[in-house]
Amino acid sequence: MKYLVALRFNALIGISLVSIVAIAALAGYVVPSADPLHIDYSAFLSPPSPAHPFGTDNFGRDVLSRVLVGAWSSLISAFGTVVVAVILGGTLGAVAGFFGGWVDRLIGILTDTLMAFPGLLMALALISILGAGIVPMIITLGVSFSTIFIRVVRSLVLSLREQEFVQASSAMGNGEMYTILRHILPNCISSLLVLATSTLAFAILAESALSFLGLGVQAPNPSWGGMLAEGRGLMGHAPWLVLFPGFAIFLTLLGINLVGDALRDWLDPWMESET
């Protein structure tokens, strides 16, 4: 009982954090409180004050509004990444698991090969070809995260395919597509949801890392990672430059991880050992 209460409490905190970040991102996108690109030389590097609650940077830009707009680009690119990963990985994994044989082996070798290039390295290499920016970043991170989905969906489909209710569907004379859509897919969704949530957290982390390295969202557009990189050299004098963007990443990840954890307990307790 007590644990359930604690669990719900965690989930509640998670949901609130995620909602706050989402609303903030939306607010930053729709009604910027102050222009995040507005340069004000009279107020550069001013510490947090009522006029600039998070202070200003070395160009006098308002850190709060930059953090808010950064939320938007972070969330958009993370969602984009997860969508690419789910569609690409889910389809390949389902195909490999359901049809088996040489298709499965081919996809298997492809996955192993893609996995041999650690996510960040692959992203770096691909970005060096595609050029830096938000779209190349979404594509490269999506491709690199899709390997997890391929593996998980494949093993899910494999185990579901052996289940008697799937055999029963074939015994009724149902076609393969019908069986996949009616019986296999609905039974994968909860696991996919849990995996997608944790991937969302990883994607935000990867996005901020790439932007930190200057390979994601391009200056002067604000992003949390980019703000950390810019504030790095000045953090001795102006610690708010790294504290607030970092804190924003932390709260977002915390929210998503808490929600993911609650989802996992609720939907799919065996998931974690599978991935």
Binding site: A116, L121, G246, E272
Partner: protein, 313 residues
């Protein structure tokens, strides 16, 4: 055992082959003419042709691939397009730095995360478990480079206890090297701790439900013996795979931490190579990292039967 090892080694071959193909074609996807980039002067036709033929670019693609593979097998990954330094030598030099940080961090992570995860599983749903789980979620949510920056801000800049920039090899001067490694290692450990801990916890919970654990208790073994002798080997096997993947990912992807602490590691080299468009260096790094990753996977596979004898067919 030998047969198992043999099969595992063979199974890695198609992956390695595909890796080399991908890496080979990578450099051909790069916009622009590598020879022109190397020469830097597209007017100098004679020099261009000379460089083209020295790079083998005047041959057909399959020929180029065979030549390239031949060189790779001999350990010749070419020279940097920027400063003409031999690629493999540069990579290995930088890799040594990354390897020190990564192996120490992963070792520490394992030493902390595995016992903590097992204790959490053992005390499942009790306060100790809740504290460990919530802490791990918290730690997972802090980006390691932000931890790095915060550590530098506090211990490097404000307190001045630790050097915030620079690197000394452990093999040259152990105590000085150790001082430089403290903060990067802490940042990496905190970055990877959560994942390994949660994996250990999940697999231990799974194992603790098994009858052989109840049977071990029914024999009168103490809880410590049940955990260490019966739960650990079974719970550690899946965690081992995760640790292998973490090592692989960090060896190629510790770029951010290396940037934060200005460590002259492989990740830093990658960033430098990419920003200076040193594609022969990027290609070399991709190849080396992928090969290392495959090797680490192979080692994990070979270690697996130690913990799960059923795998040893």
């Amino acid at each position: 055992m030998l047969k198992y090892a043999f099969i595992r080694v063979l199974a890695a071959i198609p992956t390695l082959f595909l890796v080399t193909i991908l890496v080979f074609f990578f450099i051909r996807l790069v916009p622009g003419d590598p020879a022109a980039m190397l020469v830097g002067d597209i007017q100098n036709i004679g020099r261009l042709e000379e460089v083209r033929s020295s790079l083998g670019l005047d041959r057909t693609i399959p020929e180029q691939f065979v030549i390239w593979i031949g060189r790779v097998v001999q350990g010749d990954l070419g020279v940097s397009m920027i400063n003409k330094a031999p690629v493999l030598e540069t990579i290995l030099q930088r890799f040594a730095v990354t390897a020190q940080v990564v192996f120490i961090s992963v070792l520490l992570t394992t030493l902390i995360a595995v016992p903590a995860g097992m204790i959490a599983a053992w005390k499942q749903n009790k306060p100790a478990d809740n504290v460990i789980v919530i802490t791990s979620i918290g730690v997972m949510s802090i980006p390691s480079f932000w931890i790095g920056l915060t550590l530098i801000l506090i211990f490097g800049i404000k307190l001045g206890w630790l050097p915030s920039i620079g690197y000394v090899s452990l093999f040259e001067d152990f105590s000085a090297g150790a001082v430089y490694l403290i903060m990067p290692v802490i940042a990496l450990v905190m970055g990877e701790l959560g994942g390994v801990l949660r994996m250990t916890r999940a697999s231990t919970i799974e194992v603790m439900r098994r009858d052989y654990i109840t049977h071990a208790r029914a024999k009168g073994l103490s809880e410590g013996a049940v955990l260490a002798r019966h739960a650990f080997p079974n719970a550690f096997a899946p965690t081992l795979t995760v640790i292998g993947m973490v090592i692989g990912a960090l060896l190629g992807g510790a770029a951010v931490i290396e940037t934060v602490f200005t460590l002259p590691g492989l990740g830093r080299l990658t960033i430098e190579a990419i920003s200076s468009r040193d594609y022969s260096m990027v290609q070399g790094i991709l190849l080396v990292v992928a090969v290392i990753y495959v090797l680490i996977n192979l080692i994990t596979d070979l270690l697996y039967p130690l913990f799960d004898p059923r795998m040893n067919f």
